[in-house]
């Protein structure tokens, strides 16, 4: 038994040495001016907010082609507010797109975010990039999307990390870490 525990401990230490980033919470604490949520910014990423914190953009590295900067966009969708879309409908649109859109997406998974049962999926959207600048070409953007419901309301946070498809694998772990750090004001 002691031998088994010893090997497990060695394996855990070995794994921690191999994946140091995963074993420590990295990033800078951030909260918008409204104070409605808090999170840890990934190292080197910068945030700016709009409309009193209802919209927050956290910008990271740009794509190798220099036409798109990876970033996390956080939007608070207020139940009953103008333009509010129930999250089931929003998920449906983001996973399937509109007529003529080229959208591929994964299944929706349940995920515990900020102490509530959130939703998570990934999708690819074909766009012409860069936006309004020539030369431009069809490019696939990858989206990591999470929905964080606010307790006892239909309101929710829409958190989306978008990047070029060629680099999206760099951001899956980062996005998960970010979601772990995301806390809403209950």
């Amino acid at each position: 038994m002691m031998r088994k525990i010893f090997f497990i401990a060695i394996a855990a230490l070995w794994a921690a040495a191999l994946f140091p980033a995963a074993s420590r919470a990295a990033g800078t604490p951030y909260a918008p001016s409204s104070g409605d949520f808090s999170c840890l910014l990934p190292p080197g990423w910068t945030a700016f907010e709009e409309e009193g914190g209802a919209l927050v953009h956290i910008l990271g590295p740009q794509s190798p082609l220099g036409d798109y900067r990876a970033g996390i966009d956080i939007e608070f969708m207020q139940d009953g507010g103008a333009g509010f879309v129930p999250y089931e409908k929003e998920i449906d649109y983001l996973r399937n797109g509109g007529a003529g859109d080229h959208v591929d997406s994964t299944l929706v998974q349940a995920l515990r975010i900020s102490g509530t049962l959130g939703r998570y999926f990934e999708s690819n959207v074909t766009r012409v990039l860069p936006d309004d600048r020539l030369p431009a070409a069809e490019t696939t953007l990858h989206h990591f999307t999470a929905f964080v419901p606010v307790t006892r309301e239909q309101s929710y946070y829409l958190i989306d990390l978008s990047s070029s498809e060629s680099t999206y694998l760099n951001y899956r772990g980062l996005f998960m870490e970010f979601l772990k750090s995301f806390q809403t004001r209950q």
Partner: protein, 706 residues
Amino acid sequence: MTVLRGRITACLLAFCAALAPLGAAAQALSSAQQSLLSRYQYQIKPDGSIWAPGSSAPLDASGVEAALSQAAGAQRLKALLQVDMILDQSGGKDNLTPEQAERIKDILRKNWTYFPQAARADISGYFSPEELDSLDAEAAAPTANPAPLVAAPAPAPEDSAPAEQAAAPGVAAAVPVPVLDDSSGADSAQNLSMSLPAQAQAAAPAAPAAAPIAASPQPPAASPAPKPAFVPAPAQAPQPPALLVSAVPRAAPVQPLPAPKPAPTPALPLAPKTSTVPAAAPAALASPALPSSGALHPAPAAPMAAPVVTVVGAPARAVQEMRALAAGSAGKASPDAGSVGFQIFPLPLPSAPPAVSAPDVEKLLQNAPYTQDVVFLLRQIEQKAGLGRNRALGFLLSQIPAIVIAPRRCETSARGCVETQTDARGETLYTIVLSPGPLLVRRGELWFKQDDLIPDAPEFYSRRRLSAPDFKANQGDALAENVQDGPWGQTSVYADGSRRGTYSREEMAGTLLQELLMAAAAQEGWDAAPYYAQVYARTAQEIFYAGEAAQRKDDDFLDPDARLLYQRWENDPNSLRDELAHSLSATRAGLPDFLGKRWDIAASDLSNPTDCELRVSAEGVDEAKARESAMKEDAAALERADLVTSKQAAAADAALSAAAAAFRSDPLPPAQCLSLQQKKEMGRRLALSLAGRAYAAQRKFFGVRK
């Protein structure tokens, strides 16, 4: 009023008559004539030759004469339209307020040279006899640059009667207006240019090579020939930006600040053609509060209350006072600190633009030299636009920008762009260019083919030291093999596989709305924060499209990418901001400071004004580097699309690097530097405010719909 309208009609006819065939020649003109031609996009080469926009040969003597006559006629027409609008607002000449009368006099003064004697008699009632004498004397004065004049065989009679103008040769060729027809394909679309020089050029037959031209005596002031002498700007000192720097007289007379020095341009063509900040801020600005929703950061202490320091006189004194301000003693700055000094004012924001009535717009559309296609687009905006309507149309009425639908003009934009030019008198002239359709090149194999949108403007390639790929779809005289409906509208397919799509008129109207707003941003200075300016303009565009889509019950009038963006915006309006944030912050956008944060004048910035010039200079270098990086990425993108070789791309890279290394930004004197910085700060706050208005308008729009 009647006489004035008669004059406008005469000008229109004279303007049409002036669209005479242009040929090729090299001339030496006075600086005033050169300035006039450069206003209308003519290029004056170092060897003295004059080239019409997009032409392949220089103008000959008659061509130069026609161009001068045409430009003078257009200038005269613009002045009369502006006067007419002021008269309409006042209800007639007898009801003019002193401000309106002064505005009319100012317009007429600036354009006095262009009016023939008969027209001067009609408008002389606005001036006193002394002023008239002065104006006539200035108009008759010889030019500062007595260069040999064009040998004018028969100058176009500017003051001849309309009937005579109508009978003049060349009128019939110039009058027909091209019609925008979505079904006409790329070739017809390429002939839609509505710029004055382009029309003249289009009518030009191939001319023989230029011969040396003998100088002729300068015509007298009363001569109908184009005069080399310009009426100089009225005898008024250059004004500093109206709200940002203001001279406060003290015990001694105060010298007004010189106008801000225009931003230095690099030796190589790195400076962008668009978004030139005008030399002077708009004069009529009021002061609403900045909406709290427009906050960019967790607010620095009371941004709206940030003081603006008026600097008059010795920069060193200003520096001391600013330091005192930063140290907390600004509020105690003694008003009698010296014969010259500074005063602190709050920084107000412009008020919402006044409502623009449909009759005002209709009047302009009936008189202004816009073709039927542009008139259609402007009517669409007047009738259907929501957000941004008054601001866009207000800009249209006040500036009367040239609006053209032409391929091969926009350097980096697929749909439209704003071109600006500053003439010798510091006035900024705006030209809005709309592309009739994108140049497409298909690459890939089998099921993996994709369309690349390729720049079609020759300037794009020359500025990047690249040779332009020779696609038939980019040649005005090539015939299409096939015309088919596709995602990019009616698409002409050429033998080499290149294609030219067509934007629908509804999409072009939305593009025109956006470009009018971006031109207004350049004029009012709120392009200092490109992201917020784009948020406002693009939200206005999407709301316009939403109205159109609701009327048509589909969004098929949009091209594929515009449709995708529109649908995402319709589903989640704030997704547009996400897109803009990710795109404008990337290298390809060429913006080192897409939020305009550098212009955020915090106390820390005011504490070291001596560093202002260095900071502005460094920022100029940053901007040049950002443009260089963007251009390098453009070249790399063409290489990836197999449109240029790796060797060409490497050569372009090296040339652009050398140009950026050679770039030097001239430092500004502290006073000018501060006024420029304050103007930028003003523009940034206005952009923030407008983005807040866009957010509110969006909420209101969707609140109604859902």
